[in-house]
Symmetry: C2
Subunit: 420 residues, 2 copies
């Protein structure tokens, strides 16, 4: 009997993480001689710890296929980072016990840097415990901050959403600035890296086009310089469009808007850079402003996903299963760029040890010298990632997204009490 | 020689106001024996007062056709309400002088209630002044608050955007609530009427589906009742999605979030209902929240426009010209609903005197008894308006929106100094 597989979604979900799930499950179904059932973690890795294993074999082929166009995390995801293995070894052992109880020999962990770290540790520990698990990391993060891979599935669709929305809203402001809003700010995600904010720059084609200002976490925020640029855009173009990363920060690392909360990973919980900037514009320049906060809309907007992103999301899921079948372990399928224009790429692989806990920052050369826009080098990198449309089917004017049955497999182990 | 026409866009622009411009200009071009040039007001009616008349005859047929899929206001719009005719007659006289100087016999004013009022007054005064102008109001407003017409072009596309975005973001929250955000609030437009907020309700199909709460301006906001409903949704579904109208208000008419600014029409300038509600959720229930503010994104999102809305926007522009040619005056083409499902409609007409300054409120029967959701009656009304997709063309991953040349006609009059 072939071993079963366990697939889990980790961290913030994206418009295309289910496309990866689709790639994993469809490919596993094609290799039923090598892989038995695919179990999915209910609410991600918590599903393994709590033995809440969704039996995906009960889902129809049509429903699994529909994951390709359904945003969110179909099995649930979580922000739960396994603790240090030395002090909290019991959690890792529990994972392996659950895998053993359900004859799981493959672990596909679909997430970012933290997840790569977990998958890497499980592969090491399972070997030591005499029940070796093939652990494959599968890249996903709208933050685009994983190393080695050309991009992270999920990013291209957010990038497209932000570029399209910035272009559209700019046309609105441009129509109205004479008697109405002169400064418009759109707040975008990106805690430590400005990849998403940079994508807003694609809305512009030539000098003077909106957005006129992009605020990156990588460039120390300076209020006077910012207000000076706002006034300059208003003087020259009549209006000013700002794309602001939620992670925009001062020289000393203080976020421009710090809500003072932390999530389970210990990351500061952000919100409010747009309103903070708007207040500066009002008080400092007396200009009429509006602001939008895209928040979850940007990472769930499957209706405007990049086809390139959807294709890559599926491809890494497919490749993850193929790598596992080939006997590879502790690796991650990555996207390898062959050429910018036309964009060509293939799937390669990288050791999880080189992916885990490494954050890819945006090169300084992607940001103009003055720190307020993107360079041609950034455009050459970003442009291909938003190429193509991949519209979901519609019914009654709304996208027809699939809802899976998500039936749990019978439990075989006692309840686990995670250590605090 | 046939008389020329003047077309102006008024107030907040929409994803489809240019589709109406397209309908006006293409139809006028087809009747060159009856209508000469179509001049468009640069920045709306200000273009007439300042004699900044865009000569649309200099635009190619292809560029005019591309208006059908381009959001924003291609000629510029403005929030400028002509003052009372008794005290500021000079402004109206100036309009008529400019029309006379450029041999303009047709005035197409594309806007909401205020614009209907202006168009009506110009038709009356021009008659008195011995230079009668055929004045046709052309409906436009995302607020959907014009009387008589089944809906206002612009609304259906915002409705679709909000319904789609609510459905998508809800899938995101549903995936993550176990360890992350439990309450998500999306703030939508709608100053005095909850039409747009109601559209968010279309994201749900059955009881328990998100959104769990809709806040309408029509229903007095009660903090305790609101927090009770949030807690109930979290208890029963695990999470809570709220669609909040920017116009949500307390019993005494105080807006839940009142920024304390006013625009040129004297309307209070709103913003911040989402963050106000989020603070209530945090302080009152201690639940983790996120919020999005769609702001201008919602009314410029041509990429996800309703095909029904695009069709109707074009149709009212076309009908406006046809009514003018038929010799009708001081009327507005309106959309007449024939049936709900399948939705059928035709274009009728209404006297401007009956449209001017009448605000259509949402019927109480569209809101559930508890005040937190929409009824089946509301669904029957709203559902057809978001039907169909009308995607713009794309180039390099971005919508290909047209930028007109917008060349001004030569001025023939001295500069006008509007009275203060």
């Amino acid at each position: 009997m072939p071993k079963n597989a366990f697939y889990a979604q980790s961290g913030g979900v994206t418009a295309v993480i289910n496309a990866t799930a689709c790639g994993v499950i469809e490919t596993a179904r094609q290799h039923s001689d090598k892989i038995g059932k695919v179990y999915a973690g209910a609410s991600g890795i918590l599903g393994a710890l709590n033995e809440n294993l969704i039996d995906t074999s009960l889902e129809s082929d049509a429903d699994i296929a529909a994951l390709l166009h359904t945003p969110g995390g179909a099995f649930g995801s979580c922000r739960y980072k396994l603790k240090d293995m030395d002090t909290h070894r019991a959690e890792y052992e529990r994972l392996i016990e659950v895998f053993k109880a359900h004859d799981i020999g493959y672990f596909f962990y679909n997430g970012g840097g933290d997840s790569s770290d977990t998958a890497y540790k499980v592969s090491q520990l399972s070997e030591k415990m005499g029940f070796p698990i093939t652990c494959i990391g599968v890249p996903k993060t709208v933050d685009n901050d994983l190393p080695i891979t050309d991009t992270c599935p999920g990013f291209g669709s957010v990038a497209k959403y932000i570029a399209v929305s910035t272009r559209e809203a700019s046309l609105d402001i441009e129509s109205m600035y004479e008697t109405s809003t002169k400064v418009f700010i759109i707040e975008v995600m990106g805690r430590h890296a400005g990849w998403i904010a940079a994508a807003g720059g694609l809305a512009s084609e030539k000098a003077g086009d909106p957005p006129h200002i992009i605020l990156f976490p990588e460039i120390a925020f300076n209020k006077e310089a910012f207000l000076g640029r706002v006034q300059k855009a208003v003087d020259e173009q009549g209006y000013c469009v700002v794309v602001a990363s939620e992670g925009a920060q001062y020289e000393d690392g203080t976020f421009v808007a710090d809500a003072g909360m932390k999530d389970a990973f210990g990351h500061t919980q952000l919100g409010g850079v747009a309103s903070t900037l708007a207040n500066m514009v009002r008080d400092g320049l007396g200009l009429k402003y509006h602001y939008a906060i895209a928040d979850y809309l940007q990472r769930s907007a499957r209706h405007i996903s990049s086809k390139t992103d959807v294709d890559q999301a599926y491809a890494v899921g497919k490749a993850a299963v193929e790598l596992a079948i080939e006997g590879k372990n502790a690796v991650m399928p990555v996207i390898v760029r062959e050429a910018d224009a036309p964009y060509t790429w293939h799937i390669g692989e990288a050791p999880l040890s080189e992916v885990a806990n490494v954050e890819k920052m945006m090169p300084r050369s992607f940001i103009t010298e003055d720190g307020f826009h993107i360079t041609d080098e950034a455009r050459a990198y970003l442009q291909p990632l938003i190429q193509g449309e991949a519209y979901p089917p519609y019914e009654n004017g709304l996208p027809k997204y699939v809802k899976l049955k998500n039936q749990l497999a019978e439990k075989k182990l006692p309840t686990f009490e995670p250590s605090k």
